[in-house]
């Protein structure tokens, strides 16, 4: 379809603003731009149709199944959107006087209280705008902690090789050296490797539990004990919290701080990449290191972005928390795990689970054999799912599994959806033996086929230009 610029007509416009009712003032010439920006010139009809056309080329979780592993694509409730749009939230200036923002404080305090209960932490900040931003904030808590004690030798953060890419990247952004440790054959932390990595230079450990292959690490208490013994702190990557919320708490596993993706676990929409919210919780001894806002509060604290974070996302998450409550939270986790195991059970016998055992909220299939036998790769299967109206699983992650497809159905899917997905996946498995060629070029029924990513990277075209 055409770009919005290709639909622009010089002189066309919407009539949004009235004539100015005060005397006009000009910028001095030295400060004026020479020509007006070449933004699109459109009627409202044009705009409406353009974005409707765009939206028809997008698949959201509220429109269909989206088993994207590690992303917890659960249904995003409408009431949460309605609450976030209330003028009492959306229309309030972040720097209005505190007495005019009592409701804002109530939202933050209530959400903090509930999330502390769920995670076993003592305090919480909502300033981080996303998961990785929360990791950054969390690891800065660790850094401040060691710094405040004058413990300068702790320069290393330990990260398992199954970790999300954000973990090592975050450690680096916080000035730490990253020590990668290999996972054991069960995808869990190899205790010997951990012991070998620990030492006086250990600042901390970053861990996801359940881990990225969907397995709960049984040795978790031993792991956190070992790290603490070595003088390090334990950071919990909350990306997979949906599996265990209300069932077991990171705080009880021995973690000192944690981030949560409100836009995963707590049902706020991803918006095609953001905004998210990466709330960070910590034990009481780290509280003094939490970020503050320069204008709103006392100085001398770290600050990871302006004001108090993606507040309207917190509103949505709180509406969700209020809805589920004490029974609903573990019910969600249990059903997320049940759904994942059910889907895995339905696929077992056709596909090969990378770890053939009870999983948590997600599981990984290993398609190496299929690829060897038919040439059809995990990518081919994923792309073929698109034609069936199902969003592909996460592909080629975690890195420790070859030809990986990682499926996370979440608790908001019914058995009919899971049965249908299993049927489609089995059909594709058989198709791989019969018609591999067509799978290599899937999808076939979308506005585009597979894009040439190499060309995109080699000769980057990152903006439209009038040619």
């Amino acid at each position: 379809m055409k770009l919005i610029f290709e639909k622009s007509v010089p002189g066309r416009r919407c009539t949004i603003l009235p004539a100015c009712d005060v005397e006009s003032v000009s910028l001095p010439d030295s400060l004026r731009r020479e020509e007006k920006p070449a933004l699109p010139e459109m009627s409202e009809t044009d705009i409406s149709r353009h974005y409707t056309e765009l939206c028809k080329q997008v698949h959201g979780v509220n429109c269909g199944f989206y088993p994207l592993g590690s992303c917890t694509m659960k249904y995003n409730p409408r009431i949460d959107e309605e609450m976030a749009a209330l003028p009492g939230f959306a229309g309030v200036h972040p720097l209005s006087p505190a007495q005019d923002r009592k409701g804002m404080q109530q939202v933050l305090d209530t959400a903090a209280e509930y999330l502390c209960q769920i995670t076993g932490m003592d305090d919480m900040t909502f300033q981080p705008a996303a998961g990785a931003h929360g990791e950054f904030t969390g690891v800065l808590l660790i850094k401040q902690y060691h710094d405040a004690r004058g413990d300068k030798k702790r320069t290393k953060i330990i990260v398992p090789d199954s970790a999300h890419g954000t973990n090592p990247a975050t450690a680096a952004m916080c000035g730490f050296d990253v020590v990668n440790i290999a996972s054991g054959p069960d995808g869990c932390v190899d205790l010997d490797a951990l012991r070998a990595a620990l030492g006086e230079d250990t600042a901390g450990l970053m861990l996801t539990n359940p881990n990225t292959v969907g397995i709960f690490d049984k040795n978790i208490l031993e792991i956190t004990r070992l790290v603490h013994e070595a003088g390090g702190l334990c950071y919990y990557d909350g990306a997979n919290l949906n599996a265990v919320m209300g069932v077991v708490r990171p705080g009880d596993m021995g973690f000192d701080c944690i981030h949560m993706n409100l836009h995963k676990t707590f049902a706020t929409p991803h918006g095609g990449g953001g905004p998210g919210a990466g709330a960070v919780g910590c034990k009481a001894f780290l509280k003094e290191f939490l970020p503050h806002s320069a204008l709103a509060e006392e100085p001398g604290h770290i600050q990871v972005r302006s004001f108090q974070g993606n507040f309207l996302v917190v509103v949505r998450a709180l509406a969700y928390l209020l809805t589920l409550g004490k029974e609903g939270i573990p019910e969600a986790a249990e059903n997320a795990v049940l759904n994942a195991n059910y889907l895995m059970a339905k696929l077992r016998g056709t596909y090969t689970p990378a770890y053939d055992r009870l999983c948590m909220h997600e599981f990984v299939l290993d398609l190496s054999d299929l690829k060897k036998e038919t040439g059809v790769s995990a990518l081919d299967v994923a792309k073929s799912l698109i034609d069936e109206g199902i969003h592909p699983p996460t592909m080629y992650f975690p890195l420790i599994v070859h030809e990986a497809l990682m499926l996370e159905p979440t608790e908001t899917e019914g058995i009919e959806t899971l049965d249908h997905a299993a049927e489609v996946l089995r059909k594709l498995y058989h198709k791989a033996f019969e018609d591999a060629a067509s799978m290599h070029t899937a999808p076939h029924n979308m506005p585009i086929g597979r894009p040439d990513e190499v060309q995109a990277a080699r000769k980057p075209v990152l903006r439209w230009k009038n040619t």
Binding site: L3, C14, C20, V25, L27, R33, L39, E41, Y51, L54, Q57, G60, N62, C63, Y75, E81, M83, L86, G88, F89, H93, A129, G165, L221, G246, V247, V248, D252, H270, G271, G272, G273, G274, S293, L295, I302, R305, S306, F307, Q308, G309, N310, V313, T323, L324, G325, G328, I329, P330, E331, A332, L338, N341, L358, T412, I415, M446, I448, P451, D452
Partner: protein, 439 residues
């Protein structure tokens, strides 16, 4: 009580049997027994939708929404066209994840590509990324882009937003790099001081335009000075002002960043907002975060993809320049939609009217005994006045349904006006101030 789990009891039983566990709790058999919660969470019982609506609406009612907002300081109350509120709420856009699967996400990818282009048009820069969290983190990421092995010191104008300064400082604390604040003189960056501070270890200098006090910096001269010292020049610009103001590119900026909230996003108690980032082509591969690029599919059809991923954390891991992953995609879509709806003329109108109204307000306020401008320079839509009896004035305005300016310094108030405020509203504000000060 509320639940989004569709499975019925019967279905759960069926699934449990298929999985082969004897109870739901057995699903968690890997969890060491002593860690399992044995009693319910200490949070209230779940609520029905009606109760959630009641509870949250009651909280919202504890906030105050002003009919007239004369406060900016990083969050601006511009008029948001109706269609700009409507379209991003479409559930396809709203509930999608990052567009990893290009074939199923062309609409999202194209919207970002269009946003990137508009940011380039607005700033005059060559390349834009798909957004970062907000203006403050955009400044911090830009500072990181400038650093190399030799040049590790970042300079930032003391006239930048305090949140921005503090955020840049925090990011530098992370990497162990140094930040130095360039002093302020008469409400603007002290050019002489900057000249002295631009040593060989300085990687980049960040200035905000218009700055925190509303003053327009002599951005070209600052840029020239920065470049003379071999450092890179980062400008943080108000995007509405850019509709009429000299572009960062024309001022010599290597990187342009800013807070995109004025582009159609609500005040929202401070977020979600939008950090925009654009740079010269030279710095393209140092830009952090997602970038959408154009390419073709096997049939030669135009296609959009997440591009230049080799820079990113999921490929580079600890060698990535930034850990950013989720950004503010929907806010970027909203900003693009806002710019398309306003068009170049509408954007200019918003900018000119905001400026005209701020100047009208400033003149009227300064005609009151005891009130005067704190700084003498040119300004856009914000300005600082000395204000006697500041607390009384702001309280009286609040009683009149007006959020007055932000208190700054000892007796200062930082005012802001936008196109949304009518002359009548401004006159009312002025008459309230007059009345208080006449007492």
């Amino acid at each position: 009580m509320g639940s989004y789990v569709p499975s019925t009891g019967t279905q759960r039983e069926e699934m449990r049997k298929a999985v082969g566990v004897s109870s739901m709790r057995e699903l968690f058999r890997d969890v060491p027994e002593q860690m399992l919660l044995t009693e319910p969470l200490h949070i209230p019982a779940g609520m029905s939708e009606l109760e959630v609506s009641r509870t949250m609406t009651a909280m919202a009612a504890e906030n105050r929404v002003y009919g007239t907002v004369l406060r900016g300081a990083g969050a601006y109350d511009h008029y948001i066209p109706s269609i700009v509120k409507y379209i991003p709420a479409k559930e396809e856009f709203l509930t999608a994840y990052t567009p990893y699967q290009a074939e199923m996400s062309q609409g999202l990818l194209q919207s970002i590509f269009e946003y990137q282009t508009m940011i380039c048009q607005l700033t005059g820069m060559d390349v834009s990324n798909a957004s970062v969290y907000d203006g403050a983190t955009a400044a911090a990421e830009a500072a990181a882009m400038c650093r190399d092995r030799k040049r590790r010191v970042t300079l930032i104008s003391g006239a930048a937003h305090p949140d921005t300064i503090n955020t840049v400082r925090t990011y530098c604390y992370g990497t162990g790099d140094e930040v130095r604040i360039v002093p302020v003189k008469d409400g603007k960056t002290d050019m002489d001081a900057l000249g002295e501070m631009l040593t060989a270890e300085v990687s980049g200098f960040y200035v905000q335009q218009p700055n925190f006090f509303g003053q327009l910096e002599d951005a070209e001269a600052l840029g020239a000075l920065t470049h003379q010292a071999g450092a890179l020049y980062i400008m943080g610009c108000n995007p509405i002002a850019l509709a009429i103001m000299k572009t960062p590119r024309a001022c010599g900026a290597d990187i342009a960043v800013g807070e995109g909230q004025p582009l159609g996003l609500p005040l929202g108690c401070g977020g979600p907002y939008l950090g925009y980032m654009a740079s010269t082509e030279k710095l393209m591969r140092k830009l952090p975060g997602r970038i959408v690029g154009e390419t073709t599919d096997s049939e030669g059809r135009r296609a959009y993809v997440l591009s230049l991923q080799a820079r990113e954390q999921h490929i580079r891991r600890e060698k990535a320049s930034s850990n950013i992953c989720s950004n503010e995609a929907l806010c970027a879509l909203t900003a693009g939609l806002y710019m398309a709806t306003m068009g170049p003329d509408g954007m200019a109108q918003a900018a000119e009217q905001s400026m005209a109204k701020a100047h009208y307000l400033a003149r009227a306020l300064c005609a009151i005994e005891g009130v005067s401008l704190a700084y003498t320079g040119e300004y856009f839509h914000e300005f600082v006045t000395h204000m006697p009896r500041r607390e009384a004035v702001l309280s009286a305005l609040a009683e009149g349904d007006i959020l007055g300016g932000l208190p700054v310094g000892e007796d200062g108030v930082l005012w802001c006006a936008t196109e949304k405020v009518s002359r009548a509203q401004l006159d009312k504000a002025v008459s309230i101030v007059k009345e208080v000060l006449a007492k």
